[in-house]
Symmetry: D2
């Protein structure tokens, strides 16, 4: 069943906040990753989703979970540019790494949002150590359920350890057990 789960597509990002160097899913392979897709003027994000993602970033700070905010602007582009996002991040005291999704080419939906097939904001995508998508959520999600799915992803058998045991290197493609995103 795990093998059926799709590999998470790579992020397409024009700018990062709260991180010294750009992050990639390829570079985070082996670690569980929680992507929180949001818009700074989306009420469900501002009031519930984004504080929840920030809370997960703090609560699992001792683990190897990576929480990434993804600013997927698909409406009101003029009101949610990088300067506005910068002020928002500052005022709402967000400390998780936040990526600006690459604008769509001639369409309002940005690139990573389209790749992930998100229905809107807030959306959450939980990626396992093997790079495959474990959970796809849209709208308000329960704190207890979010905590449980993150902990389950953290508890999964370490990916690189398993790869090493199988004699696989990072540059290999799929095996029976694991797949490497392009």
């Amino acid at each position: 069943m795990m093998k059926e789960a799709p590999l998470a597509p790579e992020l397409a990002v024009t700018r990062w906040f709260n991180t010294q160097k750009p992050l990639t899913l390829a570079g985070l392979r082996g670690r569980p990753v929680l992507i929180h897709a949001f818009q700074m003027l989306c009420p469900g994000c501002v009031i519930h989703g984004t504080p929840q993602a920030q809370k997960a970033h703090m609560m699992f700070g001792d683990s190897d979970l990576a929480v990434i905010g993804l600013h997927t602007v698909f409406e009101h582009h003029d009101a949610m540019g990088p300067a506005a996002l910068d002020a928002y991040i500052h005022e709402f005291r967000l400390t998780m790494p936040i990526a600006v999704d690459q604008p769509g080419d001639g369409i309002p939906t940005p690139v990573t949002m389209r790749r992930l097939g998100l229905r809107g904001t807030p959306s959450s995508v939980l990626i396992g150590r093997d790079g495959r998508i474990r959970h796809h959520g849209f709208g308000q999600e329960d704190d207890m359920a979010v905590g449980a799915m993150i902990a389950a992803a953290i508890a999964e058998k370490p990916f690189r350890t398993a790869m090493n045991a199988a004699g696989i290197t990072d540059t290999d493609a799929c095996t029976d057990e694991f797949c490497h995103a392009p």
Copy 2:
């Protein structure tokens, strides 16, 4: 004691939303007025203060209370311009009249905010039928207390009725009982 309460200074506004024609405190004299001063990127406004003001606007819609949102931007001016505010009002489904406070001349604090002596956002200013300030609040306020102070202001003796009884016209200045803002 009532006589001691200061007269509310007039609004200085560069743009209105959610109203066909500009509002003035002078024009609203005789009605109780709740001014909710906010910034669209102020967390305490977005999460608590502004929904509370919008709720008052709806709850007291059958009374003659006037609720006015006042966008008093004193920081991050680039991120909170009229286009951004327009998107915010739309996304958060705000229907109360909202005024953009006039930018300060060489200072970050806008004009009405300075006139009212506000300490920050969110702030609430409740003005009685006589144009005098009944309540000055800063930060999170309790719903029950807000409901009570609004109802008390609504219940006050109608200003114009009292003025008429005293033979005063709108163009008169102060009397022992009432004052007319310039």
Copy 3:
């Protein structure tokens, strides 16, 4: 329209908590009264209604509002006797006067609850200075609305002052303006 509102029937009480001497609506005539009907094992009471009534008791402590908790047990009588209620009042730190409604004669519904025509718990009954019912609520009520209706009741023309002006004494029955409960 006010004249049409029914007079609140008198309380029938077997025991009081949090007050030195028994209270009666007749004795409170002239003051606004908020009756909060509850059962100590009713979830909607414990979680929302009773804390709201206790908050009103504290918030309007400087006014002449009287808040009365009325324990209207109509089910699980064995589990909600006076000893249990005493423990509940202590643990939940309730300080408003609380009356135990008189058990019904051969029916589960207690006497005052039946007189007031309550549909269940929590219920709130707001009584004006003239002894007439201003509001009848059942289930969860909004804090802002509760604050507003209480403040409106407090702001009403003092009953005794009006009675005195009209030359009425407490022992008189109804006049055009006011009625005295039996």
Copy 4:
């Protein structure tokens, strides 16, 4: 470090609700167990702790987690007897198995509560598949944290599988890896 964690002491129960047959920790060995210690008249239990435990009971219903409510009455014994608890369980729609802790012999603290060394109510005790205590909480706990610790306990290597692999039977005492409660 795991080896240091104490074995959970057995429950001492005088009556069960919401289960056909009595439960024991010995009988649940191999499964993670969440014990929620509460009193029906403890505000922190009624408003937060008990709804949280009930939510965990529902949310993890597809896993082999066992959630047990433990009524540890250490005060107001007269108000929280079995009949009162029965009414409480019914009114608050609790469906998890609930045990009445055995009264202390001459002391107010009941037996299981003393064995577990609980400081008060609400308390939560999470027991791993090996019968050892993973977490000891007192007071209000965050939903996300609770979800995470439960999921981590569920994700632990199955106890009996590991025992079988090591050729251990249930009647063995401690090995390097696992210990069996007396």
